[in-house]
């Protein structure tokens, strides 16, 4: 069974440019999450989809970040325009919908974004 796949693995862009990150969750996982780790800090929650609906987007830093999950399958996270502080590793995770959130989340390998 394929795991969570993220693309690209690395991206270096200039300040002001746009970048789109993609995540393909494990097949059958309705929950999809985006997280971010800024260098040396904790991994922080960005948002949570259940199928195509945004369940919780309380962690999105500002309106330069836009996440979509059309059709409830893969998801994209667009940063427009990128700023220096957006640099970090962006992780995507997916999980099954089990009673009271008992399911563990499976993570992708992450996208390392560097804004210069």
């Amino acid at each position: 069974e394929a795991g969570v796949t993220q693309f690209p693995s690395h991206s270096v862009i200039e300040k002001g440019q746009t970048v789109t990150l993609r995540c393909d969750p494990i097949s059958g996982h309705d929950n999809l999450y985006w997280y971010r780790r800024v260098m040396g800090k904790e991994i922080k929650f960005l948002l949570h989809f259940v199928k195509e609906s945004k369940q919780d987007e309380s962690g999105m830093p500002n309106n330069r970040f836009l996440a979509e999950r059309t059709g409830g399958t893969y998801s994209t996270l667009k940063v427009q325009p990128a700023e220096l502080e957006d640099s970090g590793v962006y992780f995507c995770a997916s999980s099954q919908v089990l009673q009271r959130g008992r399911a563990e989340a499976f993570f992708g390998q992450g996208t390392r974004l560097t804004v210069v």
């Binding site: 795991g3 969570v4 993220q6 929950n31 999450y33 997280y35 040396g40 800090k41 904790e42 991994i43 922080k44 929650f45 949570h48 369940q55 919780d56 309380s58 962690g59 992780f91 995770a93 999980s95 009271r100 959130g101 008992r102 563990e104 989340a105 499976f106 993570f107 992708g108 390998q109 992450g110």
Partner: protein, 115 residues
């Protein structure tokens, strides 16, 4: 608000010795606790979880963790460390709020196992 603390940025142990990576948490409600590991150039890999029941949970690669409610801790342990265990370890907590399942992570602990 929930939070997780991993007080040690780095832990060094000799191969064959027992290892402990510490984690304490703060939540209102019953916590679900998780440990993840990140090997170099890899994604986060699930190790084990505590949901309910036995306080000692066993996971992958010989790791285990003990849930201690009174001390609000969930330390990761392994009786005999291997060099291949060297990696970055993250503790995480989830409180099911009915609508969200987000994990709150600690800052991570770099484990280095030396020969």
């Amino acid at each position: 608000a929930q939070s997780v603390a991993q007080p040690e940025d780095q832990v060094k142990v000799a191969e064959g010795n027992p290892l402990t990576v510490k984690c304490t948490y703060s939540v209102s409600g019953n916590p679900y606790l998780f440990w993840y590991v990140q090997y170099p150039n890899r994604g986060l890999q699930f190790l084990l979880k505590y949901i309910t029941g036995d306080n000692l949970v066993k996971g992958s690669y010989g790791f285990e963790a003990e849930f201690n409610k009174s001390q609000t801790s969930f330390h990761l342990k392994k009786p005999s460390a291997l060099v291949s265990d060297s990696a970055l370890y993250f503790c995480a907590v989830r409180v099911f709020t009915g609508g969200g399942n987000k994990l709150t992570f600690g800052t991570g602990t770099q484990l280095k196992v030396e020969l």
